[in-house]
């Protein structure tokens, strides 16, 4: 690889921050992304809680079934 080719490769692979999440100039966009994340997190927590409750229920019923 030539010098200029290497320089271009480095320039292309440089990690750039996401302009939406890391933009310090637009707090409205950042806040709205946070709201979106929290709504989806809330939905995920509800679903995962349902799964956890179901797994606990299976374990309890399985123990009851074995003991009887």
């Amino acid at each position: 690889m030539t010098m200029s080719g290497r320089a271009r490769f480095v320039a292309l692979t440089r990690a750039l921050p996401c302009a939406v999440c890391f933009s310090p100039t637009d707090p409205l966009v950042r806040d709205s992304v946070n709201v979106g994340i929290f709504v989806l997190l809330g939905v995920t927590v509800i679903v995962l809680t349902g799964f956890a409750a179901f797994i606990i229920r299976i374990a309890q019923r399985s123990r009851m079934h074995e003991s009887s």
Binding site: L28, V29, D31, S32, V33, V35, G36, I37, F38, V39, L40, V43, T44, I46, V47, G50, F51, F54, R57, I58, R61, S62, H65
Partner: protein, 196 residues
């Protein structure tokens, strides 16, 4: 080979495999609709201006449609209970009402779409309308899917009842879970898209 626990409930889960499968499907559906509601929250809170939703959408028509869907859920529960009690005739009548109300819901939704598109309100008009058409369109597709399954259950009910009544009861119970979920999603959508 028969699918295990399709008639009697599994001892550890306490439900049949069909019911368990339906709950897992509902969990994936909650994530699907949840991601769209999350997009709505993101776009609305990030927008400089947001249209007056209640002013551009037909709230009275959507309210009437909400009542139609609630009535269909009530009929679904009634049908499922009638079948559990062994009353096939009452089940078929209740399912007929469910199918009719489901078709009415889709028809009213179609009228609403036509009116909105006639006024130049299209998915590309703004972010709100993009989300509105995506959410309500996805919901309508779920109603169509539910109607197909319900129609099949009703059409084959006499035969299934004769060969395996408990199997039919379990199928109808699973279908009722789905239909009530569709109803619950609509209520969340109605509040979010029309009233907030």
């Amino acid at each position: 080979m028969d699918i295990p626990y399709s008639i009697e409930p599994r001892a550890d889960t306490g439900v049949t495999n069909a019911t368990l499968g339906m709950w897992l499907f509902i969990a994936s559906e909650v994530m699907l609709f949840g991601s769209l509601f999350s997009s709505y929250a993101l776009l609305r809170t990030g927008a400089g201006t947001w249209p007056d939703q209640g002013a551009i959408l037909n709230v009275p028509l959507a309210s009437a449609n909400t009542l139609v869907l609630l009535a269909s859920s009530a009929a679904m529960i009634g049908g499922s209970r009638a079948l559990t009690a062994g009353r096939l005739h009452d089940f078929r009548r209740a399912f007929g009402i469910v199918l009719l109300l489901g078709v009415v819901f889709l028809g009213v939704k179609g009228v609403e779409y036509a009116e909105e598109i006639g006024r130049g309100l299209r998915p590309a008009t703004n972010n709100f309308l993009g989300l509105y058409f995506t959410l309500t369109g996805l919901h309508a597709a779920h109603v169509v899917g539910g109607l197909i399954v319900n129609a099949w259950l009703m059409a084959t009910s006499s035969r299934t009842w004769a060969t395996g009544p408990v199997r039919l009861q379990n199928r109808v119970r699973a279908a009722a879970i789905y239909w009530n979920f569709i109803d619950a999603i609509w209520l969340a959508m109605f509040v979010t898209l029309y009233l907030l």
